[in-house]
């Protein structure tokens, strides 16, 4: 289902459609990047995005269907702006085969797990491997442990996340969409790590 066909050589001719407006970089001062969120269902991907884009948190769980598209621009201290075009994908199993549709050509992948759920951490590792195999080779990856507010129910130690991220060259952070903890930091960190055009 498109999964097998999406080999890593995508920077070339396939930048149509989903990627057509995502050159990655518009100009030196105004970056535009495609960001994809991946992770098991129920880990809070949509909540992270909605907290970041709209500053809202909705505790009622709304299952994402397919993928939602949102965008948000942030300004960095060095007066550059970064416009994130965010693909918030559905975590359900039936959409796993369609994920390449969304992460193809993405400059940033945010892989999310729930610190109270070891299964979701395992699923996050699956996504990391998937991206390493089929994603953009220059992709910036972040590993996010969400629901940090539920620390008393924690089942995935912080150190596990840090170790795994380090091994795979990822940026690691724990967030809480509920309390807004580290949400903006997550995206700011990502923005800082983006490859800049030569002129900057």
């Amino acid at each position: 289902m498109g999964c097998s066909s999406s080999l890593p050589d995508r920077s070339s001719g396939q930048l149509a459609g989903l990627n057509s407006e995502n050159g990655g970089v518009s100009d030196a001062k105004n970056l535009r990047v495609k960001l994809v969120l991946l992770g098991d269902s129920g880990v809070g991907k949509s909540c992270i995005v909605l907290r970041f884009v709209r500053g809202q948190f909705d505790p009622t769980s709304k299952v994402t269907v397919g993928a939602s598209f949102l965008s948000q621009t942030i300004a960095l201290q060095d007066s550059t702006t970064v416009k994130f075009e965010i693909w918030d994908t559905a975590g359900q199993e039936r959409y796993a085969a369609l994920a390449p549709l969304y992460y193809r050509g993405a400059a940033v992948a945010v892989v999310v797990y729930d610190i109270t759920s070891p299964e979701s951490f395992a699923k996050a590792q699956y996504w990391v491997k998937e991206l390493q195999k089929h994603g953009n080779p220059d992709i910036v990856m972040a590993l996010v442990g969400n629901k940090a507010d539920l620390n008393e129910k924690r089942e995935v130690p912080v150190q596990d996340g840090i170790d795994y991220a380090e091994k795979n060259g990822m940026f690691f952070i724990e967030t809480s969409a509920k309390t807004a903890d580290n949400i903006n930091q997550l995206f700011e960190e990502i923005a800082k790590r983006l490859p800049r055009p030569a002129s900057s």
Binding site: S41, S46, F69, R94
Partner: protein, 538 residues
Amino acid sequence: MSSDSSSTSGDEFTNPNPNPNSTSKPLEDQFASAALTQPNNEPPEIQESPNGVVNGSVGENNHGEVESNEREGEVGSNLEARQSVRWRRTNSEVEVEAPSSPSSSGYAGERGSSSGSGSSGGFDMIGGGIGGGDDDEIQEVSNVDSIQDSQASWMPGKRHVDEDDASLSWRKRKKHFFILSNSGKPIYSRYGDEHKLAGFSATLQAIISFVENGGDRVKLVRAGNHQVVFLVKGPIYLVCISCTEEPYESLRGQLELIYGQMLLILTKSVNRCFEKNPKFDMTPLLGGTDVVFSSLIHSFSWNPATFLHAYTCLPLAYATRQAAGAILQDVADSGVLFAILMCKHKVISLVGAQKASLHPDDMLLLANFVMSSESFRTSESFSPICLPRYNPMAFLYAYVHYLDVDTYLMLLTTSSDAFYHLKDCRIRIEMVLLKSNVLSEVQRSMLDGGMHVEDLPTDPLPRSGTLSPHLGQPRDSLESFKEPFVGIGGPAGLWHLCTVVYFWINMYLLSSHHQLIAHVNRKDYIGLTRTFMLPCMI
């Protein structure tokens, strides 16, 4: 009740005694017989031949006939014939197959442990119902009887999602829907946790495969006032257990829609999973879609589109709809397969690419899917969906965006790369709709609540444009309805249609027997459906 939506046939309407069904009984007779036969504890029969089932829908007529025959105790030897097959005392095979056959009362004691423990408990329950002889003993045991019991002492407010087939409250539900695999694995249940219903699912599967082993198919089991309707779709089995007195065709149509809804989410290619692994567990694939199915099932009780195979139009002035249609046509020409603008379950306008036609059932399922999935409301989405009537094997890609609280645009395409193009299309459409005030007109029409039954003349005969006070009030958005009745097409046709629907709704309410609705010939519906669709297709 908002009835502005439906379609029926003009022919029906002019004929005071419509007899679309094969049985040429006047309506009065059907009423009479329906009133006469109170379902009692007769054993359930399994109706086999297609004819038998058609017969069944005529209502209780067939019931009576069956009762008189029931002691014959035939088992499917004569399947081709019009006779129903029934198991009474002849179902020794059934009981032999059941691993152990504790006495019925014994089963009652074990109820708590029956869930998930294979088929014996559940099977016996049905077996008890089928055996039917010793009513006293099995009163609590047989599914049938316990639910009948419940009718006398219906306790509202007992709603637990965590119930299973052992809970009395679960058994008392008026209408159950199940999806299961042909290996008996539960896929969906309207009430209760699917996983806890493994035993019950296995029972249903056993019934189906028992009949299939005899080279036949089970369509309907009637047990007292309960009907058990089966629908087999390859490796997927759908079952409805209902005491709502809806006719077989109606329940079967609902199962077809549920199956269609499943295809819309997964496509028919799930069948391949079962080919590879017959014990494949499908529940994870449908994760998070409970709300889609429950909202569809709920719509069976309020949305006429579910049985009319027609979709509902939002009443709008001609010029407004024209404006919406024009811009949708514009984008459809740019490679969009279908462009659909809807407000809740009502169609504002719909345009398809050349030669592509969208079946009203697909529209219904798509709209249900979009409206029941909250995530579409939060932001624009791009999601794979399958239109079962268009192509059950393949995904299309749906760009969905809510333009306001109730109004949403769906752009369907075959290309998985078309998101940005569709996004541009949506921006164009949204601009045009805002400029031409379509969205505010739509909201106004929604506030008006569409058409009401009381808007319609009470005389069911055709008449020339006499308007009730409510509709007669000058309202721009409904301007078009003021044209006198001239024929079946255009807005006047819609008007005519509404009067027909009103007639039928009257009959429906009066009769309190849903059968009447189903008696309207489907062809007539389709004829008028086309006319009905006209105003919004322009």
